[in-house]
Amino acid sequence: MSHLADTTAAPPTGEISRLADHLFRHEAGKLVSVLTGIFGIERLQLAEDVVQEALVRALQTWPYYGVPKNPAAWLTQTAKNLALDLIRREKTFQDKQPEIITFIEQWSSSSDAGETPLLDGEINDERLRLMFACCHPLIAPEAQTALALKTLCGFSPAEIAKAFLTTEAAIAKRLVRARQRIRELHIPFEIPSGQESSIRLDGVLQTLYLLFNEGYKASSGESLVREELCREAIRLTALLAAHPIGNQPRVHALAALMFLNGARLRARMDAEGNILRLEEQDRSSWDKTMIARGMFHLARSAAGDDLSEYHLQAGIAACHCAAKDYGSTDWPQILSLYDQLIQIDDSPVVALNRAVAMAQVHGPRAGIEAVENIRHQQALESYHLLYAVLAEFESQLKDFQAAANHLRKALQLTEMKSEQSLLSKRLRDCEAAGDRR
């Protein structure tokens, strides 16, 4: 049948290829920010609706008439028109109406040239305002991330649900509640200044960090969506770091940590989706541009005396990125960074990672000892990586029997397919090595 052949044909080049990657997603984030600036943060939902409607209009017309010369300007113009219609209709805008109309008309008056009188800098200000509003301490942390993903990054509730392993309905509820709180608490749409700004900035960084980690950790969600999370977290953090209010050592440190870890994201899996350990990864596939940008931010992060956990984590990531191969990794440096990190953040995961560095520097016995010290005191007993790490140490000591036992335990504790297949492979290797002895 001819139509079957048709479906596999590559879409024709030309105007479609002009639709740059993520154009809609990024434009949506910008437009929501700008419109929120106009309508007020209490009408956030309205801004989101107008933007969605503009995107839908694009869907309805572009396929037939072609992609406009400047798609971003087209979307802006359409959103502007829709917003004007709405304001003229809605009574609630009556008091502010003339002001708003003047503003919107000025915002994109030269529509044919596709230029927006709003400068990029102003748009970025609006996006930062929205970022600070979404990450307000009075909004629950999980709602902060959901709201940021929805409004700033253009994720659908379904995609957010996939990323956080929850239902779409739960995410929708979270979003509604967050918007309600913004209204009820009169959360301001502004970039905070003065004493408050430092605390508020920390809140934003925490949310961005959470966003990145959610994408980076391999334990949940669909891999494609997770990669997007990392990318968006990086984009927003870089935006923040480029702004005067965000041009601070710890912001640069967070950006560095994201770039330096993000650069290695793709290399963590082989073509079949199996997890590759650091020593197995093809270092030539690490993203050099991202590493360079990470190193740039790391250098900027060193200004001043601030030493945050972001600094230390970025430093550790930099050690890995700087090593030509696994053998030349600077483990003593990494261990010293972990020693400092554990002073700030004594989470079990940090402690376990520190044990790995410990084993690299002082041998597997020291590693086992370090793990034994922490395994009972914290919630590590049911953490599969604890056993995976112990297995690694035991097999370095050639005790394949003990290693195999740890791996079996680890296998019982993870449900993730990619993790399971890695552990099974290591278990087979251990059993084979045990038999040879």
Binding site: M1, H3, P12, I16, V56, L59, P63, G154, A158
Partner: protein
């Protein structure tokens, strides 16, 4: 597949104009470019000879001498027609096969495939009726 010498006209009517409301910008962008690629491909192959989106608003004219002019929308959003393709293809099977490639299907859009009639059905019925009348008259 044999090469048919004659082509028939079909309309693909895209029904539903709210299936896109919950898509993320990313998904919308994908649908836009897939849809445009689809339309371009069909046009290049000479299978699509036209197509347009339809605005949701409009007027509904009814009543004697068209006295009643109402503002649209005219149908429930699930039923509303959002656009159409005019196809010239071998047969209904091919038209259906093309409809099955619609990028909106995945998200709940519905495609109606309608053959273009050679003659308006009302006129056909009128002609049929009058020829029957003639036959009856002849028989009498």
């Amino acid at each position: 597949m044999s090469t048919p010498t004659t082509k028939s006209d079909y309309l693909l009517l895209f029904r539903g104009n709210d299936w896109d409301k919950d898509l993320s910008p990313e998904q919308l962008q994908r649908v836009v470019s897939d849809w445009a690629a689809w339309f371009e491909r069909l046009t290049q192959q000479g299978k699509a000879v036209g197509g347009h989106p339809l605005r949701a608003e409009g007027k509904l004219v009814s009543g004697r001498k068209g006295r009643a002019v109402a503002d649209g929308p005219f149908a429930e959003s699930k039923e509303a027609i959002g656009g159409y393709f005019h196809l010239q293809v071998a047969d209904e099977n091919e038209a259906v096969a093309i409809a099955q490639q619609c990028p909106g299907l995945e998200y709940g859009a519905v495609v109606e495939v309608r053959p273009v009639a050679e003659m308006c059905t009302v006129r056909a019925r009128a002609l049929e009726a009058s020829s029957r009348a003639e036959q009856l008259a002849g028989a009498a």
